[in-house]
Symmetry: C2
Subunit: 679 residues, 2 copies
């Protein structure tokens, strides 16, 4: 029976009810991103101590180390003492439990074939791929297939045919606002590989830091980085690390704005006289390259030449966003230049600058990619527009014949839900793109901006939400069952930890620091149901964040999406829909919240840093009482309503404190209205 | 009132009862290692957003970055938005909440002054030190002094006078059996600095891996490391990292045994013909340098010359341990050489080898340190003997006038308690050393051997137990109140997490992997009361461990010391001593263990890797029932004893499963015997 991924979740339910012999595993495949096609063939391959992998064909050698790492992860999850120390090309074929059959070496470049076919039979696992990059994608699927029953671990009998929907599936890391060392970058690249992503966009320069060693212009990193930069050796190491996982690594140097840190060492290229200091605040700042000086282009030519040699990828990101034009407007020399050259406004001046940049990139055999502001006439057709301001800019660029990738809707620092990002499709079903235009949308990139994250929290913002987006980039458009996504995401979330990612484990670590050694339980009960405020509201609530502010408070520990609140929301919806069986579980949750406040108050005495959530903790207890009353019936709720103004109190509970939001207010309000008969 | 640390814990109790005005903080200073002298002067310094640090005097510049990191940690713990971005030498004095007054630049070498004086007054904190290394030690004390009340955070008014008892306070990391990358090494060095340790001993070569790049003999790392080695740039980076924290970094190259990995690239220096392969098993192996060939010394001269230039420390560790002599005895050429040169046995041959090595070290201005086997006549008096086999070798070396450091009793891989290590004193009160000999015992080193640990678990073996040993090395001999040590260790344990150490957070991460996404609670309840088997018993229970075995099972997740079991043990002792008030708490613990088995059984169905602890989980439930019956009284216990043979069942519960031990058997047996009236 063939299950097309288009309808897989619906059909699965049908199949399960028809097929009594089907084991539980088949209902609960935890694949993410879900493959193009999964066919259940019956039976299963039992994993034992003698499991081993053989590789046939003509792959690039990097597959040997990759497959060895996969074997270690399989062994780590199952506790199986598998005998292979290393998978090497010298191993003889046909004696292996699992064969990798790979036609040719792959190239780590845009558009490379990443397809694979996986067949799991009772006595053999066969993974076939055009090149080793496809094989890597398939190996990740094998790890996700591992299932267990009383007898041990196994892979269910399947035939999987898989390939990506989009060819550009990226993660952008801002390492400038806060710096992340090579270890952090590497483990996030590992996470990307596990999620079949293939582009790492390295945002390397900003007002707040210049993060790469330049041998030609050493004052860039020496004066612009506080000593926090990557050496060229480290850059090469990361590029190699990406390539070994089938992941392109390309740099962004944001020009002409976002460039304060450049001018600390080289003020002569700015549009206003220096001296400059590394920016410590957040926002959009004035310092901008002077596009009217030839010296600027001589400098950029040499610098880009140096970086072009360092980064082998064909694409080179020149930023181009958020130039406020203030330095240009205030500089008489620049104004004179504009008049003399018939450049009507700052936008046109940036167009002029970009054209000069394009010439430099072309000289070094690089193709341009930039934020959507770069879109202008007369650009070559191989450039890529990265849309951060919205899908309309993708449409605009596609209409002009330019390739585009979507980042709008994938801004992790907006603190949206996995669901929100998951349903944000570069080319949705009801797209306004013509089929020809749609082809120009070649993928998307998740963006991890780093104003409000440090090495302690950046991974909890990237993962697991990026896994949901990775599925959007890889799987067929029709794979969009939100509930099934969350079910699988919960498992994938934990598997990502084996790559040393700290997205789960730093949560309680941060709670422990906040409570200074006291029992964290009351704080965890609270933090489990709050989320940081959304969009950029954190900057507008009376707290002035700077580069070296403490990012260690409750709002930083709190996860971007409260799974506990989500669960309560779903239970509430079921209750309102008439399923009263959920009442017991709801009451149990509500009582733990109601009783939590006094314990948390006690904690605050020894941890004054928690004072800022005092009121919200009290509100949590109060709305929990409302919900308990509502579950007890209309009369009980009316009793409560006589004592307090429910509307006022629910409105009060919706207010943020300490930059966190209480995620239970909406479902409690819904429940109250339902019981009141108001909806 | 001056509290000498000699009697601090006893006196503290007296003072507390006499002084009603004393705040709670003063009873509960969480300093570790405890200072030589702490005087409470009353009052307190309130920490506010305007806290800032100024540095006066003539320190080495490294103090500026160190103090800045301390300020960030203070801000991170308290949530205070302190204004200083960086502490620099250009800041003007006298406007700071805290002054560092430092006389001269320090030297990162054996015997450097590490003393400091700290005075906390209501309006000023003053830290005075001979050099910046002492100031670093004092800054760590400041962080540990942070206390809180309802009004906020503060430092209690104190006058602290502190200096170390021993001048060599080391941690040895074996990075050969399993490799740990630079990030892991660095964060452990951070942990050392927090605990005022000052020597990092880097065990860089072994049968199972050669871990440093050699430019003169590149086949050493190319063929001997599986690609897992430190580049010379990375070595320099770590040495600098240590120096920036007042920590010496010196290398060990284990010779002439433990050297298989060298011979993979250079078989010609072995005592038997090659080829050699990197050893994948654990144990003592035959491959040994050929001490009779001049080529061996020419090679070692060049290699040691290269490494001597790389490592600036005056000491250089030549290993010298566990040469089994088999290759020497089996080699006719070596036998002939011994006869011709009147070398009676293998021990004498190693003495000859060591003398030649000593010549090479001397040529490169290095002093020799080695394991206690190196002890032999005619060595210069500046060598250091590292005793791994017992204090008697320290005595022997001291009697001969040699300096020694103790490692016996500090073997983390023996999986002993913090208490065991803590009470293991290099020069105990009842020492057999004469005062002159005692002076030759200059300290000790914790050893972290890496057969059974990976990057996921190594830190949970090092921390927090190493913190207790660090106190042994730093604090006066008389500081040995075990209960107070554990009280402080619980707080310090959590503070160590801010240095990115994974010793706490990887525990639940590993449990999550074992349960594949299911609720970990039943597994955690179990794992909380077991410990890995002690000494090297793991190797003798039917499981053959190799380099690439899975180190991800329950035994690996389990902590070396169960604090839950310790707590139950203490409660049991109190109960037996007549304090029946603990009964409720004991019953509550026992019931959770009794009820856990069925939940854990269910988990095993989906996590077969847990099957190995099935019997022990059942035993846990059973002995919990015994203990509950015992707490209910003699009659109830007798009822149980009629149904099962208590002695047999308790003996059965003492048996290890899955290489873990159930740490509750002893206290339950004690309780049962007590109620039976047998003791």
């Amino acid at each position: 029976m063939k299950i097309s991924s288009i309808l897989f979740s619906t059909l699965l339910l049908v199949i399960i009810s028809f097929s009594a012999s089907m084991t539980q595993t088949k209902q609960t495949l935890n694949l993410m991103p879900y493959p193009k096609s999964v066919e259940f063939t019956g039976g299963e391959f039992r994993l034992t101590h003698s499991f081993a992998i053989g590789i046939k064909g003509n792959p690039d050698k990097r597959i040997f180390a990759y497959a060895t790492r996969v074997l270690r992860r399989l062994s780590g999850r199952t506790g199986l003492f598998v005998p292979q120390d290393f998978i090497t090309e010298t191993t003889t074929a046909d004696t292996f439990a699992m064969d990798l059959i790979i036609k040719r070496p792959g190239k780590v470049e845009l558009g490379e074939d990443e397809s694979y076919q996986l067949v799991v039979k009772n006595n053999k696992v066969t993974l076939t791929a055009e090149n080793e990059i496809g094989a890597m994608r398939g190996l990740e699927t094998v790890l996700q297939l591992i299932a267990a029953d009383k007898k041990g671990y196994y892979l269910p009998g399947v035939k999987i045919d898989d390939e990506p929907r989009f060819k550009w599936r990226g993660l952008m890391m801002d390492v400038c606002r806060h710096f992340f060392d090579v270890a952090v970058v590497k483990r996030n690249i590992d996470g990307m590989a596990a999620m079949k992503m293939n582009v790492f966009h390295w945002h390397l320069s900003e007002d707040q830091g210049f993060r790469v060693e330049s041998k030609l212009f050493p004052l860039l990193h020496e004066k612009g980085s506080d000593g926090l930069y990557y050496t060229q050796e480290q850059i090469k190491e990361v590029i190699q690390y990406g390539a070994d996982r089938g992941i392109r690594v390309y740099p962004e140097f944001d020009l002409p704005g976002h460039s304060t840190a450049w001018f600390v060492g080289y003020p002569e290229f700015a549009s206003a006289p220096g001296p400059y200091k590394i920016e410590r605040n957040w926002g959009v700042f004035d310092p901008t390259f002077d596009p009217t000086k030839e010296a600027t282009y001589e400098f950029l030519d040499k610098f880009i030449g140096e970086m072009a040699a360092l980064f082998p990828d064909e694409y080179f990101h020149i930023g181009g966003d958020e130039n406020n034009g203030k330095q240009w407007s205030a500089n008489p020399g620049i104004q004179k230049f504009m008049k003399e050259n018939n450049i009507p406004d700052n936008h046109a001046l940036q167009t002029y600058f970009n054209k000069r940049l394009l010439g430099i990139l072309t000289k070094y055999n690089k193709k341009m990619i930039g934020w959507d502001e770069i879109l202008q006439p007369d650009l070559p057709k191989d450039i890529v527009v990265q849309s951060w301001r919205g899908v309309k800019f993708l449409v605009e660029s596609a209409k002009k014949g330019y390739m585009g990738i979507l980042s709008n809707g994938y801004y992790l620092d907006h603190i949206q839900t996995a669901e929100f990002h998951y349903l944000n499709d570069p080319v949705p079903g009801d797209t306004v793109f013509t089929p020809e235009e749609a082809k120009l949308v070649i993928g998307g990139e998740v963006t991890s901006w780093a104003e409000l994250v440090t090495y302690e929290t950046v991974e909890s913002r990237i993962w697991p939400r990026t896994a949901a987006i990775a599925e959007r980039f890889w799987s067929p458009q029709s794979v969009r069952d939100v509930e099934d996504m969350y079910r699988r995401l919960a498992v994938i979330d934990i598997q990502l930890e084996e790559l040393e990612l700290t997205h789960i484990k730093n949560y309680e670590m941060m709670l422990r620091r906040l409570t200074m050694g006291a029992d964290i339980t009351p704080l965890k009960i609270f933090a489990d149901v709050v989320e940081p405020v959304k969009k950029y509201h954190r900057h507008f609530q009376g707290v002035k964040y700077r580069q070296h502010s403490p990012y260690t408070r409750v709002v930083d520990a709190a996860r971007p999406e409260s799974m506990t609140a989500r669960k309560f929301r779903l239970l509430t919806d079921r209750y309102i829909a008439g399923d009263k069986s959920v009442k017991t579980e709801m009451l149990s949750m509500l009582k733990s919240w109601e009783q939590n406040h006094s314990s948390l108050l006690k904690l605050m005495d020894s941890s004054p840093v928690l004072r800022e959530i005092d009121t919200m903790s009290s509100n949590l207890a109060e709305i929990s009482r409302f919900a308990i009353a509502a579950l007890e019936g209309k009369k009980q709720l009316e009793k409560v309503a006589k004592k307090v103004n429910l509307n006022d109190r629910l409105a009060a509970a919706a207010k943020p404190y300490g930059q966190v939001e209480l995620m239970l207010t909406a479902p409690v309000e819904k429940l109250v209205r339902y019981v009141q008969g108001k909806k």
